[in-house]
């Protein structure tokens, strides 16, 4: 128990230092008074007695101090003293403090920002009860399929079949479908919000409790649950909104309740603002591809293993018919429900690792910058340190003092970094690459992120401050005090090493940034076989509005007429699928003629288009003709194929006039397009592709393609107006085709954006580093330059002298950096497109840019050196 007693005592001293000091003094006084009393009894006069007592035993304060030394207070005292001293020193050099803190804030901020992405996407659990029990049911489908964030969606009926078949393993199986709603409340204008249509047990399966009101019940009139955020922002957190009516896509819904704060849907990527039960918002009434398909997830019963669950789910998957004629189900899996779906999670983790590495490089450059400045300051403070050594300060005590100063600096930098992270999150939300499906990356730092930033600041502080601190405290007392002057270019050697290392790191960063940016550029510069510029696509779905084929065709016909008549519209066509949107659909196709090797068949991707589609997207034909207005229902069915399809079915022959069988009927090939890109611009393999005529194959869900030089927003506005004029109940989801393509290049955009920014920051910091070294060098040699100039040297000579020094550092740094980059860019390979990891352009341009910037940074102090006034320089001594 002795440890406990002792510990308790130390703690009491530590936690209540004032009370402790007071008690100590009382105790000492008590002692002295008893002492004096005893003296008096021995016959000494009262005043004398006290005096004697004091003389004999010294002052109360002295003993107080003495006792205090024995305790933990000693350490705390020293730390407080160090801190106070450090603060005073920083206060006296505000310029140095500011530059250092800002530099560190950049480095720590960059690293913390990436870490908070890691935190949001991979570490932070979903804000639901026992998230570890939640699993996704992920089907493996071939043919028609609909994905949502890495999960295969299933038709709603199929979800119900799963629910029936899995009662023994799931305490509840729920499903969701992300939908964009137009929300109207009272007289306010309608706004678009992202929400989800969910099964009625959604919140029960997640184990959530409403913040206000209730969730769904069985006998609901059409009900909606709001997110806490939407409730706060749109309804100012008014509890009275429960029971009121809002309009979603012009239908009335009663607000049942508000979800708990922090819950914004079941993934870190999608943020849902409201939830509507499938019962009150029949699936299929909203716009979209495969409208009644949902993403199922469930809560495992206690004790049910993933393997057992997988077996049961798979059995249901194989037993129940696919529910969609064009797809086959190969089975189903269960996957733990993580904030980011496992499939996406792996590639995200790999990317984040890369981003984190880049951020740490920035931090290293920043740290080296500050270490360099600390070294310079250590030289400047040699006199002060020598004095302190001379009057008896221990070297360890001095190192500790200097370390405290630096760590304080780094901690301030860490605080700045956290602020920067907050700001970066906002910048990223506003300017960063857009995420698909309106997803938002919530990068608000939590305690884990703050702890990370703090630890990072403390560790880098120790790491980078140790060398300067030890260096400084090892000053030789006598010579320093004797001449006091700065001597020795040897003092800048440490800094030179730091600067070369910084430049090398900056080269690595810039090369990585260059590779990412060039990847994005080459992905964007790919000839996709069509021209996406100045094209707006507008998705329209007539199925929920009860159109049959006749009315549907009439609708699309008049819509096309109206849009084509708009001023500024060059051409307009329609297609079932948007090319390059990441989506594709395939069907088997068979040549009708028996060739030398028998009938040949293949699986070809397809799109259903109207004649103007080719002109609108400028898809060139290499043989035959495009579809025409004459190719209508009742006439011979015709299709246009791509070169790859012709190559597979009729190698070496012209495809024109050939007959094929697909979709259960015969078609005649009338034209051939050049091979292009179809699902993604970064796809390398060219699939066989066929264009069918809309006139001969109807679909209720089509996408309008409009080519116009007018601003996209204006075109979108016009399209909406035309659709509304035809039928106000038809929803339109419109955006520029280039945006659609951009979303499929998300990974490349992310990389180019983040690593590009890091590269620029790293380059800037390295430039500041070399500027600092040379400025210091020039300042040290003011007298020498003054003499040189006085003796007739010209400005150019001095300039050359300084620049030569800078150029040497730059040359060493760049050479080392290039070597390091060549050895490491291989890790980027998975991300690169169109260029190799040793892309010569990048390896030439990136270092050149850095060299140019660094030379400018050298030139500034060099020019100052040439302007040295000999008289002033010599008098200063």
């Amino acid at each position: 128990m002795s440890h406990l007693d002792g510990l308790r005592h130390r703690l009491a001293v530590l936690l209540h230092p004032r009370r402790y000091a007071r008690e100590m003094e009382a105790e000492q006084r008590f002692h002295l008074e008893l002492e004096a009393m005893q003296q008096r009894q021995a016959g000494v006069e009262a005043d004398d007695a006290e005096l004697t007592a004091r003389r004999t035993y010294g002052s109360v304060m002295y003993y107080g101090e003495e006792v205090r030394r024995m305790t933990v207070l000693r350490f705390i005292d020293a730390l407080t003293q160090d801190l106070r001293y450090a603060l005073r020193t920083l206060h006296r050099n505000p310029g140095f403090a500011l530059v250092s803190v800002l530099t560190l804030a950049l480095g720590i901020g960059a690293t913390t920002a990436v870490f908070s992405m890691v935190n949001t996407l991979l570490l932070r659990p979903l804000p639901v009860s026992h998230p570890e029990q939640l699993v996704l049911v992920n089907e493996q489908r071939v043919g028609a399929a609909s994905w949502w964030l890495g999960q295969e969606q299933v038709p709603y009926d199929r979800f119900l079949a799963y629910r029936e078949g899995t009662r023994e393993i799931f305490s509840g199986l729920s499903a969701q479908r992300q939908v964009s709603f137009s929300l109207r409340f009272g007289n306010e204008p309608a706004t678009a919000v992202t929400g989800a249509i969910v099964s009625g047990n959604y919140f029960d399966v997640l184990g959530l409790r409403p913040a206000v009101g209730r969730f769904f019940s069985a006998d609901d009139e059409p009900a909606v649950v709001l997110s806490h955020r939407l409730w706060q922002s749109r309804f100012s957190g008014d509890r009275g909104v429960v029971g009121q009516t809002i309009y979603l896509n012009s239908r009335p819904y009663v607000i049942a309740g508000v979800a708990p704060g922090g819950f914004r849907g079941t993934t870190a990527l999608a943020t849902h603002e409201l939830w509507v039960p499938a019962r009150s918002a029949p699936l299929g009434e909203h716009a979209g591809f495969m409208r009644d398909w949902v993403a199922p997830f469930g809560r495992l019963r206690p004790g049910v293993s993933l393997e057992h669950a997988a077996a049961v789910v798979n059995a249901v998957a194989m037993r129940v018919p696919p529910g969609e004629p064009q797809s086959r189900v190969r089975g189903a899996r269960v996957e733990p429900m993580t904030p980011v779906p496992a499939r996406a999670g792996r590639s995200i983790a790999r990317d984040l690792e890369m981003f984190l590495t880049a951020a740490i490089l920035v931090l290293l450059i920043a740290g080296a910058n500050v270490a360099g400045m600390l070294l310079a300051r250590a030289s400047a403070r040699r006199r002060e340190i020598a004095v302190r050594l001379a009057i008896g300060a221990g070297r360890w005590r001095l190192v500790r003092q200097l370390l405290t100063e630096s760590v304080l600096l780094f901690l301030l930098g860490g605080a700045g970094g956290v602020l920067l992270t907050l700001w970066l999150s906002r910048i990223f939300a506003a300017w960063g690459p857009a995420l698909p499906d309106g997803a938002v990356l919530d990068l608000t730092p939590d305690l884990r992120v703050l702890g990370f930033a703090l630890a990072l600041a403390a560790v880098t502080g120790m790491l980078f401050a140790l060398v300067p601190a030890v260096r400084a405290s090892s000053a030789e007392v006598a010579p320093t005090l004797k001449d006091g002057a700065e001597r020795g270019s040897g003092r800048t050697r440490g800094r030179s090493v730091f600067v070369s290392a910084q430049l090398a790191l900056a080269v690595v960063l810039l090369v990585a940034a260059g590779l990412c940016v060039r990847t994005l550029r080459s992905a964007l510069a790919v000839d996709p076989g069509l021209d996406p510029d100045d094209v707006v696509v507008a998705a329209i779905d007539l199925a929920p509005n009860g159109y049959d084929e006749v009315r549907g065709r009439a609708f699309y016909r008049s819509l096309l007429e109206r849009v084509r008549a708009l001023p500024g519209v060059e051409s307009a066509g329609i297609a079932q699928l948007v090319l390059l949107s990441g989506m594709s659909d395939g069907n088997d196709i068979e040549s009708a003629e028996v060739g030398p090797s028998g009938r040949t068949r293949t699986n070809a991707w397809y799109d259903v288009v109207d004649p103007d589609f080719f002109r609108t997207l400028r898809i060139p034909l290499v043989a035959g003709r495009a579809l025409t207005d004459a190719d209508v229902a009742g006439h011979a069915p015709v299709i246009v194929v791509n070169q790859e399809l012709a190559r597979q079915l009729w190698p070496g022959e012209s495809p024109l006039g050939k007959h094929v069988r697909t979709f259960g009927r015969d078609w005649e090939v009338v034209g051939m397009t050049r091979d292009g890109k179809y699902a993604n611009v970064t796809d390398n393999a060219v699939p066989p592709f066929m264009f069918l005529s809309f006139a001969q194959r109807y679909s209720a869900s089509m996408t309008l393609h409009v080519r116009s030089r007018l601003p996209a927003s204006q075109v979108i506005h016009e399209i909406r107006a035309q659709v509304r004029a035809l039928d106000p109940n038809v929803a339109v989801g419109a955006e520029p085709l280039t945006d659609v393509i951009g979303t499929t290049l998300l990974q490349q955009r992310f990389a180019a954006w983040l690593i590009g920014v890091f590269g620029l920051v790293g380059m800037l910091l390295a430039a500041i580093g070399i500027y600092g070294v040379l400025a210091y060098y020039v300042a040290q040699r003011t007298r020498e330059f003054g003499i040189r100039l006085a003796l007739g040297a010209r400005g150019g000579d001095v300039l050359r002298l300084v620049m030569r020094r800078g150029a040497l550092l730059i040359a060493i740094g760049t050479a080392v950096g290039l070597g390091a980059a060549a050895a490491t860019t291989r890790v980027l390979r998975g991300l690169l497109y169109g260029i190799g990891p040793l892309d010569p352009v990048t390896f030439v341009v990136a270092p050149l840019v850095l060299v140019a910037v660094a030379l400018v940074a050298c030139w500034l102090p060099a020019r100052r050196a040439t302007r040295t006034d000999p008289i002033i320089a010599l008098r200063a001594e």
Binding site: E27, Q28, H31, V67
Partner: protein, 113 residues
Amino acid sequence: MPAADRSKSPLLQGTLDLLILKTLTLGSLHGYAIAQHIARSSDGVLQVEQGSLYPALERLLNKGWVTAKWKESPTKRQARYYTITASGRKQLGEALSSYDRVALAIGRVLGRA
């Protein structure tokens, strides 16, 4: 740097701790009474100064060998009373036996035993 290094002679320090612990086996005492008791029972040979006594007590507190409590003294004043703990008694026993061994050894060397 600290003048207190004077008091860091290990023999002195250890011995004072020993004397204090032994004194406290009589019961809870305040600092002055401890010094008085040591002085009296050594016939005034061992004068414990304030500057040594309280650091020593602090040390013993830190080690958990004694505890301290504020109580009213017979003179109606608040005083800090020190009490030996169980581990303090154990330490005293160990220290006493090692002291005996050292004393015996020194005696032998000096030819007094």
